[in-house]
């Protein structure tokens, strides 16, 4: 994604080109963590979301992203408070709809890196259909789903990823609805980059974020992020420090093999961590830009008002 960023407008007035105002890169030093951090996070001490934030800061530092070039967008949930904690342009949108909002930014502003953060309820319950359609359209952005298997902000209701038997306030006897399998769902929806990681393995998390950012398309990461308040210990069996196992995706896994990816996704918890699936398919950003280029080639040299005048001439 970073290498495809365009700074120079192809034509003024075009949504796919905006005036470049950033001074040459060499004049600016990379941002420090201090410059990237904004409000102090309001999360509970020990919440997994802290490490996702810390590694996002690392990513910005390491990849020398500028404040004005990133846009951090989220829906509603504990995890979705994310944008307030990051210094840079951002939007805290409504529950479940961050993806279409981010799509509006991505499709009109190829000069920006669009990052979306949110929870499992935001992604797979209220926002489920938006996940499907953003994936199928392959709109360029990076989406980190901070999966804690529970509704954190609203204080412990069953989430679409809560395992069977999980006792929540809405399932006092234990959850009875079949949980969704995020990896399978994302792959079948048409996401072109699908990875899985966990907040307890910072190196891996950063590695996944970098790979996702560099992917030209809709890149999604499911990051297990423990809710210490309402689902403590949910992911212990994936954490070697808690006696669990962290299984990386096998080195010989072919990331372009959809069936192999489903097989990996079928492995019972703690399953595998890494890139399950990654293919290149034209992004909607590119497809729309191509449509524009073709249409604009035909009317080259004409001003917008002349185009409209010509159209009205046919309506006399």
């Amino acid at each position: 994604m970073s290498n495809q960023t365009t700074d120079i407008p192809a034509r003024s007035g075009n949504i796919t080109a905006v005036p470049a105002v950033t001074p040459p890169v060499e004049e600016r030093k990379g941002l420090t963590k201090k410059e990237i951090a904004a409000d102090h996070p309001t999360w509970c001490p020990g919440c997994g979301d802290f490490s996702v934030l810390a590694l996002y800061f690392k990513l910005i530092e390491k990849r020398k992203l500028w404040h004005e070039k990133i846009t951090t967008i989220a829906g509603i949930g504990c995890s979705s408070r994310f944008p307030y904690f990051v210094q840079g342009h951002g939007a805290h949108y409504i529950h479940g709809r961050a993806l279409p909002f981010a799509s509006g930014v991505s499709l009109t502003r190829p000069d920006l890196h669009v990052f979306v953060f949110g929870g499992d309820g935001d992604a797979f319950s209220i926002g489920g259909n938006h996940v499907n359609h953003t994936a199928r359209k392959n709109i360029k952005m990076t989406y980190v789903i901070m999966d804690n298997w529970v509704y954190g902000l609203t204080k412990k209701q069953t989430s679409p990823t809560s395992p069977l038997g999980f006792k929540s306030k809405t399932d006092i006897w234990g959850a009875v609805d079949q949980p969704i399998n995020p990896m399978k769902q994302l792959i079948s929806a048409g996401a072109t980059f699908v990875a899985r990681t966990t907040h307890t393995n910072p190196n891996h998390l950063l590695q996944m974020m970098e790979a996702a950012m560099d992917h030209d398309g809709f890149s999604v990461i499911e990051c297990l992020s423990e809710c210490v308040e309402f689902y403590e210990g949910a992911f212990d069996s994936s954490n070697p420090r808690k006696g669990g196992v962290f299984n990386p995706v096998p080195a010989d896994h072919d990331v372009t093999d959809e069936h192999a990816a489903y097989k990996l996704a079928d492995t019972p918890f703690p399953g595998y961590f890494g890139i399950f699936y990654k293919v290149n398919r034209p992004t909607k950003n590119k497809l729309e830009a191509d449509i524009n280029a073709k249409a604009m080639e035909k009317v080259k040299g004409k001003k917008d008002w002349e185009l409209l005048k010509a159209t009205f001439a046919r309506m006399k």
């Binding site: 003024s12 007035g13 075009n14 949504i15 080109a17 905006v18 005036p19 105002v21 950033t22 410059e35 904004a38 409000d39 500028w66 404040h67 004005e68 990133i70 846009t71 307030y84 210094q87 342009h89 951002g90 939007a91 805290h92 949108y93 409504i94 709809r97 993806l99 279409p100 909002f101 981010a102 799509s103 509006g104 930014v105 991505s106 499709l107 009109t108 502003r109 000069d111 920006l112 259909n129 938006h130 499907n132 359609h133 729309e288 449509i291 524009n292 073709k294 249409a295 604009m296 035909k298 009317v299 917008d304 008002w305 185009l307 409209l308 159209t311 009205f312 046919r314 309506m315 006399k316």
Partner: protein
């Protein structure tokens, strides 16, 4: 005297009192049409032609040709159509009123009915003036003898003659063009201009299609009507405003958005909004823009808001059910103070309601829909031309006040075709590209900003002090940080309200149509402007003291309306919606709440049809007769 002289608009012998014509014309029934002698040519100043058939017969095309011809002849024109809500087609009408003078509505009654089928004939005979012409396809229609004395019946084997003219393989396809030829003959229309329009319509298609169409047209045109029918000629148009363009309200709206500089939008199909999104999808790429079809209306408004947030006002739109889905996101736009244009092409509701009928029942959702104290702007175009300019105004209000703006159009204005003077393109087209000039510091929700008006800076803008804003739906402080402070919530709510109060101060006070003082003031909004004004003209011609006021800016209302109301004994708010639990339509209730004036009363209906001029006057009279119902 021939029957045609009884048409109210015939210039010769025109009654000075149009209302009396109704009575006058019923006398025409006494003089049954006579044949013999050579057909006369009568000069007329306007005509209402109703074409009734099935939608798949291309009757919209005939109407479209007539409307565009009128536009090219500097005439005024207005159309009205109904379309079946089923895909397989079904009964459908297209009514076109062409005038050499001002045309305000599509006309209450038709001078000519062109009926393709028995059902077209039987269902629409009531819409024809007594003494009017009924042209019918004698291959399909059986004349009812009891109607023969009231209407001049002219049967023509339209279907079989079309087949004869263009060859039988296409069955009776092309009979609409044959019928157009007949109409052209009867109204002495400009044949070369019509030929050109036909040829233009089929350009890009197989050449033989144009040839066949012209064959059908000429077969109709040269069909011998013998002596049975008189022909007409429009008097020279008084209007010479130069080039006119002809289009429907949805087209005007979509092109207005393009002129305003909108280059991004998102939507989900729904009648009657779909045409707008289809047009934008097709047209925007050559301007470097894009319109995206989304998975639903929530995604659509969200994507459009993303575009607006990214620096250029974007558009979304829908009709009834889809507008309901957008309201949560609308609240975010109000709270985050992000500009947006939302088109609502109203149809009959609630729920799926009457998808292909007209209603003005979304005023409440546009002004008040959503949770919380959520001020936004609502404006309504009053005719097709106004759709174009309203779109530009909406974009500019959204930008100026950082607020979502509703454009309340409706089914009737969206499909009706009107001619209007070509805009001054160089002047009206604007560039609203995002401004990404770095700023030293930025307070997104500055409470000291004049009138509470602030603007967000788009991503991509460098803020030199390193403090970046978050556009947020949570109540926030001046920097956009979440807050639960009672004081800040009060102040921020006031800020969002004050912006629109300052807009109200700037709005022009609408002009009264007719004298500024009198007995009755008819108040309207949206697509009803034409019929209401015609009602005023008709009433005044009959000596009644009636004026009208059309309100374009519905929310906020302009200041000073109370002074206008003070000049009248009765204020009747004419709307196409239900009288509601308390006896007032939606604008009526709003005006009563705003002005506490008991003389404000409702004249409402919700039959899914546009107002007839006669209906408005009858209902107003009835209101006076029954007295003021509720105070």
């Amino acid at each position: 005297m021939g029957w045609a002289s009884f048409l109210s608009h015939v210039v010769i012998g025109r009654s000075p009192n149009p209302r009396n014509n109704l009575n006058f014309m019923s006398e025409a029934t006494l003089s049954a049409p006579t044949s013999g002698g050579s057909p006369k040519i009568s000069k007329i100043s306007e005509a209402v032609i109703r074409i009734a058939g099935n939608s798949q017969d291309g009757i919209q095309a005939i109407g479209g040709f007539l409307a565009r011809l009128a536009g090219r002849s500097e005439q005024e024109v207005m159309t009205f159509m109904t379309i079946p809500s089923t895909i397989s087609g079904g009964p459908s009408i297209f009514q076109v009123r062409i005038g050499s003078g001002e045309v305000l509505s599509a006309g209450d009654e038709a001078d000519v009915l062109l009926a393709f089928y028995q059902h077209s004939y039987e269902n629409h005979i009531n819409s024809v003036k007594k003494g009017g012409i009924v042209l019918f396809d004698s291959d399909h229609v059986q004349v009812k003898p009891e109607w023969e004395k009231d209407f001049h019946h002219v049967g023509i084997p339209i279907s079989s003659r079309t087949v004869e003219a263009i060859g039988g393989t296409a069955k009776d396809k092309g009979k609409n063009i044959f019928a157009l030829g007949l109409v052209a003959k009867i109204f002495d229309l400009n044949v070369p201009k019509l030929e050109k329009l036909i040829a233009e319509r089929f350009t890009g298609k197989d050449e033989s299609i144009t040839k066949t169409a012209l064959m059908a047209f000429h077969a109709g045109y040269s069909f011998s009507l013998g002596n049975v029918i008189e022909t007409f000629q429009f008097v020279e148009s008084q209007k010479r405003e130069g080039a006119q363009v002809v289009m429907n309200g949805n087209e005007a709206l979509a092109y207005g958005l393009i002129a305003a500089g909108v280059r991004f939008g998102a939507g989900y199909p729904i009648t009657p909004w779909s045409d707008v999104m289809e047009l934008l999808r097709r047209e925007l790429p050559k301007y470097g823009g894009a319109f995206i079809q989304c998975e639903d209306e929530i995604a659509s408004i969200s994507m459009a808001l993303g575009g607006s947030y990214a620096g250029r006002v974007a558009v979304t739109g829908s009709s009834g059910p889809g507008i309901s889905l957008k309201t949560e996101a609308l609240g975010w736009a109000v709270m985050a103070e992000i500009p947006l244009v939302i088109c609502d092409i109203q149809r009959g509701g609630p729920s799926t309601g009457m998808p292909t009928n007209v209603e003005q029942s979304d005023l409440n959702i546009a002004c008040f829909g959503g949770h919380g104290d959520c001020p936004r702007v609502v404006i309504a175009p009053s005719n097709v031309e106004d759709c174009f300019y309203t779109a530009i105004e909406a974009v500019n209000l959204a930008r100026k006040y950082s607020v979502p703006v509703f454009i309340l159009s409706d089914q009737s204005i969206s499909t009706r075709i009107e001619a209007f003077p070509e805009p001054d393109f160089e002047k009206v087209c604007q560039d609203i590209s995002p401004d990404l000039t770095p700023v030293t510091t930025h307070k997104p929700y500055d409470l000291n900003a004049p009138q509470g008006v602030t603007h967000h800076v788009a991503p991509g803008t460098r803020i030199m002090d390193g403090k970046y804003p978050i556009a947020t739906g949570l109540e926030h402080d001046e920097m956009g940080h979440p807050t639960g402070s009672p004081k800040l919530h009060t102040q921020m709510t006031a800020k969002r309200r004050k912006k629109l109060q300052s807009l109200a101060d700037e709005l022009p006070v609408p002009q009264v149509y007719g004298p500024p003082e009198g007995n009755i003031l008819l108040v309207g909004w949206g697509s009803t402007q034409g019929p209401i004004r015609e009602a005023v003209d008709r009433a005044r011609a009959a000596g009644d003291s009636v004026s009208s006021l059309h309100i374009k800016h519905i929310f906020p209302l302009p200041n000073g309306l109370e002074n206008i109301f003070a000049g009248f004994n009765h204020v009747f708010v004419v709307e196409m919606n239900d009288e509601g639990l308390y006896g007032y339509g939606q604008l009526g209730a709003l005006l009563r709440a705003r002005y506490c004036d008991p003389k404000i009363q409702g004249v409402t209906k919700c039959d899914g049809l546009t107002w007839k001029v006669r209906e408005i006057l009858e209902r107003a009279k009835q209101n006076i007769a029954t007295g003021i119902r509720k105070l």
